[in-house]
């Protein structure tokens, strides 16, 4: 095994020395830099100087970023923009049909993700050099952070579901470790109860809720395997599909096809023989199960409860893991598995519906939180909801687009909050802030940019991505049900107003007005160091320009006037064959992603389109009329206007309530009487208490009193002890006849045994009585 690694390293360096484009084999280096870094800090970190650890850890991630960038550029110049893939060795294999490679895949989708992950990580590492400057476990922090990047890249670059799962659980582990980083609560006095201390509990909660999601993910994998493996399913369709997939993948033998590998599974589904239906029921089930996993990782209803608690971790962690990268893994996974979702409109409905509900629901909670990080946490949950709306309505590329812009502005917001918290000596309550603009000018500017980006004001990145998502949601009509798309759109719009409102609220209460603690005290507080400011500026800059990547034409390389970013991602997610079949089978979802940048697809789609409209009109006439009545361009324009409108309304409302001059509009202090509605929102609808009361406590009590003390001690042990007591009584009786103790017992046992044996052998009745088998065998 180590031999394989050495061999690997040797060839990688060999190819690196040679000139020209990188080879797929070198992909491992993207992963190795953080891993090497993590190992060194873990073992030696304690003996190194703080600055050394911080700088080198940032450098490790920076190298990963440079390698990712290199592969990305190589893909750009490569003929056909082909993906880089490489299989290193067989990871797990059992039997003829189950073989999981250790393979990496750097394609259009993972390129975007890898760049976002390594890029944002680098910036946040640099920020952390400053933020963690006083912490004595500095090296442990960077060790965990490097490890996180390693697992995240594994998740993104893995070429099969199991590799993705390694990263998937690995990032969960790092999240657990980093949430509980201050496990003795030294910087963040959270409530302590009999279960231990706050931060460690929050970490544990995150891991366990994630595990519940992973349960769904694993079931999804099982169903995929059972449905698409020749081991269990030897139907004629699947065999034809395998043959087609083998042709498409240029492999000679169908046995080389592993249904758990993304590209292979995609090929199988795409090669499904014409005229026969895919098993839509199972695909729907798979889609929903995988989404349960996504809901756990990406904090969607009903598994979102861990994310707000996760804010117990250091703020750079919240920025990196709980805003920019890890929590978006679910969105990435749905986009990666898009070829399954497009075939299962019901699963799409579930994804979009839960996304919309979460977007709105979390936004309402965000209205009444007083902890600056909690506001941002609920805002993250809400924004993730938007991403799921996107991938749920089939606009995968836009989901990834929003993922990217969100990574920029939300990381900027979190780091900004970190600067504030650092400045305010780890106080996080916005009721104690106010007027910080004067003391933290750079933080203030970057914060405002990012806050308005998330609010969706025009010309900032959030506007472009969110607007596109709402537009696609409006056109969504699963099973021809237009009302569903409208409902999702409506909830998204309502969430957008609330987002604009609460972001204005938190901005005003933090930076504007007059300080709520004495100014002379504020003046003595230490300003954040340069590394923190640099990170904020970089991210604010990205939060502005991030949206322009997708503006058509002016730097599009294919000169078709398409939206460049979206076209790029659609190399994987845009599934022509599947899309057409989707229309044929289910009708209705006509306008979904008809950007028309690929002429052939456009023509085909159009032909199908007309038929579909007729089909769609029957169940839902009104919906179709809207589309008939105006051109698509006009519709898009109106929708854009609408979303700008709501953003402006939200900001204006926030200004009116908490704006510059309204210094008195501070939220009520603890213990003050709240209106019932306010109390409900502030207490997060008592969902945590509900889970505690209906799930956690009953399971705990049941295990303790029924299973352990009931069944184990009271029934089984009592029975065994009773038996022993009975035996002893017999022994006592025997003792009166003879003298021995245990030997007597043994003698009698053996004697009985021998008697039985003689009896059985003599009469041959050891054969099982026939009625027994007959009775039980059926």
């Amino acid at each position: 095994m180590p031999l394989e690694l050495l061999q690997l390293a040797a060839t990688a360096s060999q190819t690196a020395a040679g000139s020209g484009l990188p080879t797929g084999r070198m992909l491992i280096w993207i992963l190795l830099f953080p891993l090497i870094g993590m190992t060194i800090w873990g073992i030696l970190g304690k003996r190194l100087r703080r600055e050394t650890v911080g700088t080198l850890a940032s450098l490790a991630i920076g190298l990963s970023f440079i390698f990712s960038l290199g592969f990305f550029l190589a893909m750009l110049v490569r003929e056909g923009h082909g993906a880089y893939t490489y299989t290193y060795y067989t990871w797990i294999a059992a039997g003829k049909w189950f073989s999981i490679p250790f393979g990496l895949r750097f394609d259009h989708l993972s390129a975007v993700m890898a760049l976002v992950v390594t890029g944002v990580s680098t910036v946040i590492h640099i920020y952390s050099i400053g933020y963690m400057r006083h912490d004595h476990a500095y090296w442990r922090f960077f060790c965990y952070l490097n490890l996180f990047v390693f697992f995240m890249l594994m998740l993104v670059l893995g070429d099969n579901l199991l590799m993705m799962f390694v990263g998937w659980e690995g990032v969960g582990l790092c999240s657990y470790l980093l949430i509980g980083f201050w496990y003795d609560d030294r910087n963040h006095p959270a409530e302590t109860n009999e279960q231990g201390t706050g931060n460690a509990i929050a970490g544990k909660k995150a891991f366990i809720v994630n595990r519940i999601g992973d349960f769904g993910f694993v079931l999804g994998i099982f169903f995929i395997f059972v449905t698409f493996s020749l081991m269990t399913n030897d139907s004629a369709e699947l065999q034809k599909a395998y043959a087609g997939a083998a042709k498409q993948l240029h492999v000679t033998d169908v046995e080389q096809i592993t249904p758990l590998k993304f590209s292979h599974l995609k090929a199988i589904i795409e090669s499904w023989p014409e005229g026969s239906h895919l098993p839509v029921m199972v695909l729907t089930l798979i889609g929903i199960f995988l989404f349960v996993g996504a809901a756990g990782k990406s904090a969607q209803i009903p598994l979102y409860v861990w994310l707000p608690d996760a804010m117990a971790g250091p703020t750079p962690v919240s920025a990196l893991i709980h805003a920019a990268t890890m929590v978006t893994a679910g969105v990435y996974m749905v986009a990666r598995m898009s070829f399954i979702y497009v075939e299962a409109p019901t699963a799409m409905m579930v994804v979009a519906g839960i996304g919309a509900l979460t977007a709105l629901f979390a936004a309402t909670i965000g209205l009444a939180q007083n902890d600056i990080k909690k506001v941002l946490a609920y805002s993250t949950v809400s924004q993730l909801g938007y991403m799921f709306i996107a991938v749920g309505v089939g606009a995968y590329a836009f989901g990834i687009f929003h993922l990217m812009t969100h990574a920029f502005f939300k990381a900027c917001l979190f780091l900004g909050s970190g600067a504030v918290i650092d400045f305010m000596h780890h106080k996080q309550d916005i009721r104690g802030y106010g007027g910080l603009r004067k003391y933290l000018p750079i933080t203030h500017i970057t914060w405002v940019i990012a806050a308005y980006a998330i609010a969706g004001l025009p010309f900032l990145s959030g506007f472009y991505s969110k607007d596109a998502i709402l537009e696609k949601a409006f056109e969504f009509a699963p099973h021809g049900m237009h009302w569903f798309g409208y409902a999702v759109f409506g909830m998204g719009l309502a969430g957008a107003i609330l987002t604009a409102f609460y972001m204005t609220r938190v901005t005003a209460l933090t930076f504007w007005g007059t300080p709520r603690i004495p100014e002379e005290k504020l003046a003595t507080f230490k300003k954040p160091p340069g590394t923190m400011k640099a990170a904020l500026v970089i991210l604010a800059f990205l939060a502005i320009i991030g949206g322009y990547i997708n503006i058509p034409a002016w730097w599009s390389s294919d000169h078709k006037g398409g939206q460049y970013f979206v076209t790029w991602v659609q190399h994987w997610t845009k599934d022509k064959v599947a899309e057409e079949r989707h229309f044929v089978q289910h009708g209705g979802a006509a306008h979904d992603e008809k950007a028309g940048h690929d002429e052939k697809a456009g023509d085909d789609g159009k032909a199908q389109n007309d038929g579909d409209k007729e089909a769609a009109e029957k169940p839902h006439k009104e919906g179709s009329e809207v589309h008939e009545g105006m051109s698509l361009g006009m519709l898009a324009f109106l929708l854009t206007l609408l979303s700008v409108g709501v953003a402006v309304i939200g900001v204006a409302a926030g200004m009116a309530k908490y704006g510059v001059k309204k210094t008195g509009a501070v939220p009520p202090a603890e213990g003050e009487k709240l209106t019932p509605l306010h109390a409900m929102i502030k207490n997060k609808y008592w969902i945590d208490e509900l889970y505690e009361g209906t799930l956690v406590d009953p399971i705990h009590a049941g295990s303790k009193y029924v299973l352990w003390q009931g069944i184990d001690v009271f029934i089984i042990d009592a029975f065994v002890d009773g038996l022993a007591w009975f035996t002893l009584r017999i022994g006592a009786w025997v003792r009166r006849l003879q003298t021995g103790l245990i030997p007597v017992y043994v003698i009698f046992m053996v004697a009985g045994l021998v008697a039985m044996l003689i009896y059985f052998f003599a009469y041959g009745i050891l054969e099982m009585p026939t009625f027994f088998i007959k009775g039980g065998g059926k």
Binding site: W91, F98, Y176, F222, V226, H700, S703, W708, V720
Partner: protein
């Protein structure tokens, strides 16, 4: 006898490995009692040498054949027409467990360096004796020889718990409970072994011969039950598990490690080596019940572990849960499930062994194992915390550790089998629910382990007694490091391990398929036409063999009853049905 190579080259490796510890124990006998350190070093020396010699098995093992290797065969006891052989060999199924045994023993000896201060010599003798017994049971290919070693395992373990146990009042109770439970189980097996030898082995107990003989359907039922009860107690499966928490809690650290690491595997090994291949019809008949018990064990063990106040009891119950996975994997009867099951045996041996070592280390420092006594140890003992964390993660099956590979293979194997395979044919179409419910155990696994870890390691140091605890010493680190290394190696490069068991597992699974196809073919050709039609109706999928076989058996039973056989269970129709299986092996005359 296809499992035994025709030309057996003389080989002494297995004998050397098996009896080297015994030699060590013998040498120790002559040491004066006061020479505590010499006793330790001698024991360590013999354990390490045994391990080094056993590496020959790993490197010399030939891949791609299900045959037994390093075979040794000669007559041992002749008594009338009875013949007991000295017959040893390893195949892909036992190889890894043998290596686990030789790997863990030196670690256990080293871990007792400081912990055991009284009767050191005897402790080491018991340990080495135990190793010989375990290795002997694993490599025996003669059922009687296996039984001898099997019973031999009890004695040192009984003394280890009874003499070196932590609580003088409870340890005798625990030791006797352990002894009685396992003893009662073995009695049933002994009857079974004698019956098998007499009826199918030609008055020998040769495992390959009995395997080839093919056992009649009805005796299979009770024989399987006899073996299954024995092994199920050892595993332990719910509801036979209650000896385990007591034994673990009272046993000294080394005893717990061996108990969890290897002794429990003897139960699962017994299933996969003896109970399942010898009695396929019995397995099929009892599969629903056993699979249900396995799944109950997974969930039950996890839930009860969650509420234990004592770390050691918690880990003990977690073993019940983990071994439930192993059993479920074995019953899946496909490549993934069985290989996963065997892999999980090894990885459970490592991770749970390490957990007991870790518990032992804090017990040495604080002389308590109650969770509530601890808190905040991560700050006082950072290296210890890191080791503990890795082992914990391995135990909850985090991907990239060994725990994940076994657990995942088992679950996907059981799911596949429950959808279209052995489990679904034996238990009905909803059998994939077994895997789904078992997967829930993965969630609870995270709950109890992480909750325990958090309460012990995280938080503020509230108990003043914990403030000045020493971090790991070099010796303690050396004890844990090899296990941690293998946790990662087996998680990242599991293939070398999986490949070593591949051929044997394939043979194991094919053995089943063949048995059932034979029964079916027989039905189709000899029975009444409508019954033949019934059996041949469906266009068959591979996994349906089970269902067909089951129908066939049911059909035969009817025929049996109709024919009103003179002696119950020996009906002519049934005998003819079994003949093909036994082709080539002369059937022994019935005992009268």
């Amino acid at each position: 006898m296809e499992l035994i190579p025709t030309n057996i080259a003389p080989s002494y490796w297995l004998s050397v490995i098996t009896f080297l510890p015994l030699v060590g124990a013998f040498v120790l006998l002559f040491l004066p009692r006061s020479e505590k350190n010499s006793a330790r070093w001698v024991a360590l020396l013999f354990a390490v040498v045994t391990f080094l010699v056993s590496l020959k098995l790993w490197f010399g093992f030939e891949l791609g054949t299900p045959q037994f290797q390093f075979v040794e065969q000669c007559d041992w006891i002749t008594f009338g027409k009875w013949k007991v052989q000295y017959f040893l060999g390893v195949d892909g199924i036992s190889l890894l467990i043998v290596l686990l045994t030789t790997f863990l023993t030196p670690i256990v000896v080293l871990s007792a360096w400081k912990a055991v201060q009284e009767k050191v010599k005897e402790y080491m003798i018991f340990m080495l004796l135990l190793e010989t017994a375990m290795l002997g049971a694993l490599v025996s290919l003669d059922l009687f020889l296996f039984y001898v070693f099997w019973e031999l395992m009890l004695i040192p373990m009984y003394f280890l718990i009874g003499i070196y146990g932590s609580n003088p009042e409870r340890r005798r109770y625990a030791a006797i409970k352990f002894f009685i439970f396992t003893m009662v189980g073995s009695v049933f097996m002994l009857i079974g072994i004698i019956y098998l030898g007499a009826k199918y082995g030609g008055y020998t107990f040769s495992y390959p011969a009995i395997l080839d003989a093919g056992i009649d359907v009805y005796p299979q039922m009770w024989l399987f039950l006899a073996f299954a009860v024995t092994f199920a107690i050892k595993v332990p499966m719910f509801p036979f598990h209650t000896w385990l928490p007591d034994a673990h809690t009272e046993a000294p650290t080394g005893g717990s490690v061996i108990l969890a690491g290897i002794l429990l595997k003897m139960g699962t090994y017994g299933f996969v080596r003896f109970a399942m291949p010898l009695f396929p019809d019995g397995v099929r008949f009892f599969m629903p019940a056993l699979a249900v018990l396995a799944v109950i064990g997974i969930i039950y063990g996890a839930l009860v572990a969650m509420v234990q106040p004592d770390v050691k009891r918690l880990v003990a119950f977690s073993s019940v849960s983990h071994l439930g996975y192993v059993m479920l994997g074995l019953f899946a009867l496909n490549a993934m499930g069985v290989q996963g099951g065997i892999f999980q045996m090894i990885s459970h041996g490592l991770s749970t062994g390490a957990l007991f070592l870790i518990v032992g280390m804090i017990y040495e420092r604080r002389h308590t194992r109650m969770i509530s006594e601890f808190g905040g140890l991560a700050k006082v003992m950072p290296v210890f915390a890191a080791c503990f964390l890795i082992v914990t993660l391995s135990s909850i099956g985090l991907p990239s550790t060994n725990g994940f590979v076994g657990e995942f293979l088992i679950l996907i194997g059981a799911f596949t089998s429950g959808t279209n395979g052995a489990l679904s044919s034996a238990c009905g179409p909803g059998a994939y629910w077994f895997a789904i419910i078992a997967a829930l155990g993965v969630i609870f696994g995270a709950v109890y382990m992480l909750w325990m870890f958090q309460r012990v390691m995280y938080g503020k140091v509230t108990n003043p007694k914990n403030e000045n605890l020493k971090d790991l010493s070099l010796r303690e680190f050396v004890v844990l490091a090899p296990i941690i290394l293998f946790i990662f190696i087996m998680g990242i490069f599991p293939t070398p391990f999986l490949r070593r068991m591949e051929a044997s597992v394939k043979y194991f699974n094919n053995h089943y398929a063949k048995q059932f196809t034979d029964v079916n073919a027989e039905t189709a050709s000899t029975d009444a036409p409508e019954k033949a039609k019934q059996a041949a109706v469906t266009s068959e999928k591979p996994g349906r063999a089970f269902a067909r076989a089951r129908e066939a058996v049911a059909v035969k039973k009817d025929a049996d009853i109709n024919n009103a056989p003179s002696r119950p269970g020996a009906g002519p129709a049934l005998k003819s049905g079994m003949k093909k299986r036994a082709a080539g092996v002369p059937r022994l005359p019935e005992l009268k």
